[in-house]
Amino acid sequence: MTQAAPSASLGFLLRHELRLAWRRGGLARLGVSFPLAVLLLLVFLHLVAFGLAESVRLMHWTGADYIAAITVGLIYAFGLMLMQALRQSLDVLYEGRDLAWLASAPLPLRTILRARMAAIALNAGWLWLVLAGTMADALAVLVTPAALGIYPVIAALALFAAAFSISSIVLLRDLVGLRTMRTIVMVFSMLAGGSVFVGSQVRSVLSAPERAALWRALHPHGAGIFALPWWPARAAMGSAVPLFAFVAASVIVAGLAGAWVERRFARGGFDNIARRVVRRATSAPAFRTGTWRVLLTKEWRLVWRTPGLIGRAVYQGVYLLPVTIAAWRSGSAIIAPVMAATPVFIGSELARLFMVTAMAGDQATALAASAPVALRRVRAAKFLATAGGAATLALPMAIAIGAWWPATLLPMLAGMMVAFAGALLIGEASVIPDRVIDLGNRPGEMFRGAVLGPVAGIAWALTTWFTVQGKPLGFVTAAAAVLVSVIAILR
């Protein structure tokens, strides 16, 4: 007699979700095993954490100091968790397209959605559990065991982030449609990440007195320590009532969000996943002659119809914001080189993103390869189209800066030309000769491009920066830039 197989459990589904998430990540693509990666990370982080905890112990912080520092840390962590959770919710609910298939399995929808939410929470929170957890371990040994309260608080924050992201995405989809929802989510998650980054650069952005005033403002005073805003920090410090309340609130909120999302899906949410999203071209194409023309037109269309690409590249500018503000505050001598480096970096990032996407991410490379057109012509068209796109976006900024500080114009334009050439080389390097097919299935190449690109962009931006200042160090960074290009070609 055979026994009926048990239904898939929450744990089974969660394991499935986590495996998918791990394999989407860069380390798995590089062939690093999960246990080994975790072990190495934990050993390294504990070494760092014990050093930091010893410093904290020697600082003789007051309770209010700890509360202020932990509150800032939790806000920072929550911002980044939210960014991650929003993107992942979008992916697992609407982009992955496997939810409807999973729902056809003989198990309750509730179980599937709970597993998804738990996976989102774990994905958003695991890094913080590791980072803050190792610090908590060290503080528990060196200062007080109550520091271990950080573990449940981080888990609760991750649950809050997952609950908020999953329910807001479903709500937005119902209110404004899939396409607008996707745009809103991407913009919001970028803003969340960007503001957290800018916030982390307080030292660059604010002067010492301003920082001191902010630090005082973040401190609870007197009986205010028991006010609600400080409960998460007190929970992290092991205070029983706030800890219980915070964790209980996160579980309740997650439960409510899950139930609400389940109801929305039960009422036709899957129809919305399955429904074809129709996006029309604004005008009918004009059939023309000329291989160059059709190749360029196609590349331009694809680049401009991928707004996420442009958004991502422009987003890199956020990282320059604190430096720019710091330069502005420090006086006019340094602002010109900083401003000159900005369009070079952004232009480099744009060209690199466009190029790697056009070369390694081409969905139908084999089509052009099977056409009666020389491949070098196809590649050259990609070069022209992507460099032209990057220049269209970055040149106006360079010209505006050059008009304000004329001495920056030439180094800036030279820097951008070198940056474009380098980005194109990186794109070219992502193609293996005689293996023109299946480029989209080689994430390793994309990863290499993703690492080389920013390194090259920073090098060329530094070159411009030093050159505008008339410093010989510009030659060193120029040499580094050439080296990166050579590596990109020879790899």
Binding site: R276, R279, A281, P285, A364
Partner: protein, 249 residues
């Protein structure tokens, strides 16, 4: 005497193991040739070599007398390759995609526009001509790439599972369109796992397994050689692994 539409002589290709070994094959103009084989038999590798996407390790491949390695551009001008997975740009509309293909094959614009409209109308895609392909079903994507393959009126069509995802009407339309091309002197090489399709549309059938051609001929010739068996019986008898063959026997 005119050159065959496709000629493979002693073609071999090896990856980590031999994919195709000493393949000899000739397809004449006006012929539909079905290349059958189990998964991993070397069918797709063979078609990719003909399309110029892979270079053979040994042997020669000629399209209407043009060597695909010596003069790939001239060979590609005469052929169309349809992969097993529809290669499309999600962010282009079908009409834009055909415009791109027309440019690649240097079709005069007016002629390309006329043919594109005719093909899209015939395949029921004209109403979707301005919609981006990203939301298309598998069948619509397949129709789009079929239209692209036929746009430049190729003399040799190399089709890897061309009917996958198509509904009955579209499937019949595609088969009719292929028959029309063949009537005009083109040749079609098609792979399929649906043996009834091969039986019905192919003039000759080749069965390949482990990179080697095991059987070649018209369906009637194959039946005669295998004691009047069905194509399925012939196919399974030739390609089943030894243990399975033993069980079947």
């Amino acid at each position: 005497m005119s050159a065959p539409a496709l000629s493979l002589r002693g073609v071999s290709k090896r990856f980590d193991r031999p994919a195709v070994t000493g393949l000899d094959l000739t397809v004449e103009p006006g012929e539909i040739f079905a290349l059958l084989g189990p998964n991993g038999a070397g069918k797709t590798t063979t078609l990719r070599m003909v399309a110029g996407l892979l270079r053979q390790d040994a042997g020669t491949i000629e399209v209407f007398g043009t060597d695909v390695v010596a003069d790939p551009v001239a060979a590609k001008r005469m052929l169309a390759w349809l992969p097993d997975e529809p290669l499309l740009y999600d962010r282009l509309t079908p009409l834009e995609f055909l415009e791109f293909v027309a440019g690649l094959w240097a079709i005069p614009p007016r002629e390309a526009e006329r043919r594109a409209e005719a093909l899209l109308r015939r395949l029921g895609l004209w109403v979707h001509r301005d919609e981006r392909c990203e939301g298309f079903s598998r069948g619509m994507r397949q129709k789009t790439v079929v239209a692209a393959a036929l746009l430049h009126e190729p003399r040799l069509l190399i089709l890897d599972e061309p009917l996958t995802g198509l509904d009955a009407a579209a499937s019949r339309d595609v088969k009719d369109m292929l028959a029309e091309r063949v009537a005009e002197g083109a040749a079609v090489v098609v792979t399929t796992h649906i043996l009834e399709v091969a039986e019905r549309i192919a003039d000759r059938i080749g069965i390949i397994a482990a990179g080697r051609l095991l059987e070649l001929g018209t369906f009637a010739e194959l039946r005669a050689r295998h004691g009047g068996a069905t194509l399925e019986e012939i196919f399974l008898g030739l390609t089943a692994p030894p243990s399975a063959a033993g069980v079947a026997a």
